[in-house]
Symmetry: none
DNA sequence: GAGTGGTCTAGACCACCAG
DNA sequence: TGGTGGTCTAGACCACTCC
C-alpha cells in the first residue's frame, strides 16, 4: 500500500509543482514500484486533495521525464525502466537542482570569484566591448562527492547594481537565484555542444585522465529585463562518465 | 482592426492546436503587428468562442516559441523582435532538413542497408531480445558536399510490415517519411550526448584526423503506435567543426 | 481601483481499451 | 459494459501592474 501523503502541505511553490515533486520522490524511493499502475486520475486527485486538471498537468510533466507512461483507456503506470542518472536539458535548471533531481547530493568545490576585463573572444560571446569589466566565477560541481562538471561563468559588471554584488557568492549559493535577486532572472539559454578533450588542468578538476573526451556546453543566458543582451556566458565542462546528458526532441 | 476569424472550424486537430495554428498565422501574416497587445484572455476567448483554459494553453505554446510575450498584470503582446530562425535540437527534424535550414545543400554518401541480428548492447538499447532481427542503415550526411555526420540506424524487423520493407531505401529518401509510411511515425526522440574520439574508420568517413573530438548522439526513437518500444535506435557522429549543434533551454 | 495574467476547481462529455 | 485517459468548459479567487 502506497502512502500518498494525503494532502500536500502549503509551500512557496505552486500546487502543480509540489505534486510533481511528491510523485517524483515516491517513484524514486520505490514507494510505487516500476511497472505498477497508479490509481485513476479522478481517484488519485481525490486522494491528493487536488483537482484533476492540476493532477494531469503534474502527470504530464513526469511523462515527459519518462518516469510515467500513460495508456489511453487503460491507465497510468510507473515506467518499467526508469531512466538512470540523467540531466534533462530541455528544462532550464541550475546544475545543483539537476544533480539533486537524480537523488544525489550536490556540492561545490574550488569556488573562485574574480574581477577581469573581457578578452576579445569573451566580449564576442557576451556581446560586450573588448576589455569590458566582468565578474568571473569558476567552480567544480560534485554529485555525491565526485566531480561531474567544471564551470566558468562570466557576468558583465555593468548589469549588476554594484561592482561587488557577487563578491560574497558562496559554495551553497545558486547563481540563478542571485541573478534573480538583482532583476536578472534567466529565462532562456542557448546552449552549444562542443566535444573536447581534457587537458591537464581540466583532468585534475574532473578527476579523470588527460585526453578523456569531455562535453563542453557553451551557454548564452538571456533574461527578459535585458532582452537583447547576454546576461551571462558560461562554459560547462561535463564528465559524461559520471553524469548523463540528454534531451527530448518532439515532433 | 484584426479579423480574428470568429469561431474556429471543426477539424481533425484538437481545439487547442487549431487555436495555435490560427494565432500563429495571424502573427506571421502581420495581421497582429509586432509589439501589439492582444485582447485580454477572457475577451479573446469570447471572440474565438473557446474557453479561457484552452486559449491559455494555446498562448503558452506561442510564448514558448517566442512569438508572444506575457506580462503579468499588463497583457499579452506579439514579440517585438521577429523570432530568430532557430535550427536547434528541441524540434525533431531529419538531418537533411536541419542542414537545409542552415542554407546548405544536404546530401548522402556511402549508404548501406543490411540485415543483422542484435548484439547484446544493441538489444539493450532497442529494448528487444538479444539476436533479434534488425535492419541496419548506415550513411554519411554531407552539407555542401562536405561530410558532417555519420549515422548508424537500427530498426527491429518485426515492426515492419515486411522484412524487406526498407531494402529499397535510397540516397534521397527520408527515413522518418519511410517509417511514417508503415505506421511508425516518430513523435519523440530521447537523445543522449556522448563526446568521443574519431577512430580510423570514423576519421575517414568524416574526412577529419584520427583523434579529433566528435559528438555522438545516441538516439532512441518512439512512435505513438508502439508506446513502450523503441522504434529505432541510432548513433549519429557529428563533426562539430562543420556543423553547429545547439539547443534552447527555457525556464 | 480597474484590469491583467496566474492558478485552481468541479464537472461534463468523448474516445479508447479490456472483460 | 465499465473504467480509463483526452478534451473542453465555466467560473472563482489571487497577485501583479498601472493609473
Amino acid at each position: 500500500m502506497t502512502d500518498w501523503g494525503i494532502r500536500l502541505a502549503a509551500e512557496k511553490q505552486g500546487l502543480e509543482d509540489r505534486t510533481v515533486t511528491r510523485l517524483r520522490s515516491l517513484i524514486r524511493e520505490g514507494q510505487i514500484a516500476p511497472g505498477e499502475q497508479l490509481p485513476s486520475e479522478p481517484e488519485l486527485a481525490r486522494i491528493l486533495g487536488i483537482s484533476r486538471p492540476t493532477l494531469r498537468s503534474a502527470i504530464s510533466e513526469l511523462v515527459a521525464d519518462q518516469l510515467l507512461v500513460r495508456r489511453r483507456g487503460v491507465g497510468t503506470f510507473v515506467a518499467s525502466s526508469p531512466p538512470a542518472l540523467s540531466h534533462g536539458f530541455e528544462h532550464l535548471r541550475g546544475s545543483a537542482e539537476s544533480i539533486e533531481l537524480n537523488g544525489q547530493a550536490a556540492g561545490t568545490t574550488d569556488l573562485e570569484v574574480r574581477h577581469e576585463s573581457a578578452t576579445p573572444e569573451l566580449a564576442e560571446c557576451l556581446g560586450a566591448e573588448e576589455g569590458a569589466a566582468v565578474v568571473r566565477i569558476t567552480r567544480t560541481r560534485t554529485a555525491d562527492g565526485a566531480p561531474v562538471m567544471y564551470a566558468e561563468e562570466w557576468i558583465p559588471e555593468d548589469l549588476l547594481p554594484e561592482r561587488t554584488s557577487l563578491d560574497d557568492f558562496g559554495f551553497d549559493d545558486s547563481l540563478y537565484a542571485r541573478l534573480a535577486d538583482v532583476q536578472l532572472t534567466v529565462r532562456r539559454v542557448v546552449a552549444r555542444f562542443v566535444p573536447t578533450l581534457a587537458d591537464d588542468d581540466l583532468a585534475k578538476r574532473l578527476d579523470t585522465a588527460v585526453g578523456t573526451p569531455v562535453l563542453l556546453l557553451e551557454q548564452r543566458h538571456y533574461s527578459d529585463s535585458e532582452t537583447d543582451r547576454v546576461v551571462m556566458f558560461s562554459n560547462n565542462y561535463h564528465n559524461t562518465q559520471r553524469i548523463d546528458l540528454h534531451t527530448v526532441r518532439r515532433g
